[in-house]
């Protein structure tokens, strides 16, 4: 009996381990690109992006969507994914310069998704901007999305993963459109 239970546990473990999906790398979007271009943004660089202090480390490495695990596309962390998304958008807008003295850094504060009842997701980060080493901006921004409930997992899980992943672009756009951020980084 014990041997049978061990075998069942092994099968379940392998099955769950096999259900890990990497999140999609996000391409730049016209909305964010235009948001960058309609304001007087300088070229900026990116500093450290990490999980906010006090939060469980696992939150940065994976997210359960029903029985399936969603992993960051770079295999590292969701905070790094946020940084990568920012770099993609800033590069497309011509506003990324690794040598710039205006440095944006971030701490992941919210990362959640559910497919039950009212499916929804949320993503948040505390962004800081330093200009020549002096902090000129410090603010937490959170973006959310919700969608229709789907019973069938084959539909509900990819939908939730795609909606959650899209929040990274939405959070970057939220920062670029933030009035305090625009004021802080304007030349």
């Amino acid at each position: 009996m014990k041997r049978l239970l061990t075998q069942v546990a092994l099968v379940v473990t392998l099955a769950v381990a096999g259900c890990a999906t990497p999140a999609a790398q996000l391409p730049p979007t016209l909305d964010t690109l235009q948001a960058f271009r309609t304001a007087t943004f300088p070229s900026m660089s990116l500093g450290t992006f990490e999980l906010a202090p006090g939060l469980p480390p696992g939150m940065d490495r994976g997210l359960m969507v029903r029985a399936e695990s969603l992993r960051p596309p770079n295999g590292l962390s969701f905070a790094q994914f946020l940084k990568d998304t920012m770099e993609v958008e800033m590069t497309a807008a011509g506003r990324f310069d690794p040598a710039s003295s205006v440095v944006i850094s971030g701490q992941l504060t919210v990362s959640e998704v559910t497919t039950m009842s009212t499916p929804n997701g949320a993503l948040g980060a505390r962004f800081r901007v330093h200009r020549n080493g002096v902090e000129v901006f410090n603010k937490e921004l959170v973006v959310r999305d919700s969608w229709e409930f789907q019973f069938i997992g084959a539909i509900a899980i990819p939908e939730a993963q795609a909606r959650y992943t899209a929040l990274y672009s939405k959070l970057v756009r939220s920062l670029v459109n933030d009035a305090d951020f625009r004021l802080a980084v304007s030349p």
Binding site: A24, Q25, L26, P27, P28, T29, L30, L33, Q34, R37, T38, T91, A92, A93, G94, I152, A154, I155, P158, E159, A162, R163, T165, A166
Partner: protein
Amino acid sequence: MPNPQPVQLLFQFKTAGNLNAQATKFLKEQVSAQIRTSGAFSEVSEAPVNGGAVMQVSIDNLIAQGAVGQGISAGLTFGLAGQLVADNYEAKLEYVSGPTATAVTTTTRHRLLTVIGLHADPENAVRVRNANEGIKMIVRQILDRLVTDLTRDPRFGASAPAAPSSDPAPLTPAETTEPALAPAE
């Protein structure tokens, strides 16, 4: 085109409104190459270009109501209950000639039909070997339509129409005149 300008190209393929990264990657080079050879632009780049023109092309594969049920029905009867499944596509091209310019938008729709099991071929359809070939043909025709409509829009920087591509698509809506037929694999 008398005075084509460079353009920065952004492309997204979506499924039911959500980004489909795998399909975006699969089609990105085809989209870029086709726009490059359209004659409407002097240069097509992923990076910002002189003048600041940007064009975003998005193609959304809409999921038809009941599509899952059709597949289950065909599968449970080992194909005896044949099905004709339609994949509908909505495409949008947005073009801005500069940082403060108003966007010019063109749209179109297309359809990919797939026969599952025993089912007669639809009329007025072009048969293709497989789904990959089908989607490539759909995208090629969509782009021909979008770019042609853009170059005919008086708000587009240069007013002359683009030179036709090497394999032009019909200019009437493809969903009614030339839907693709991809047999089940």
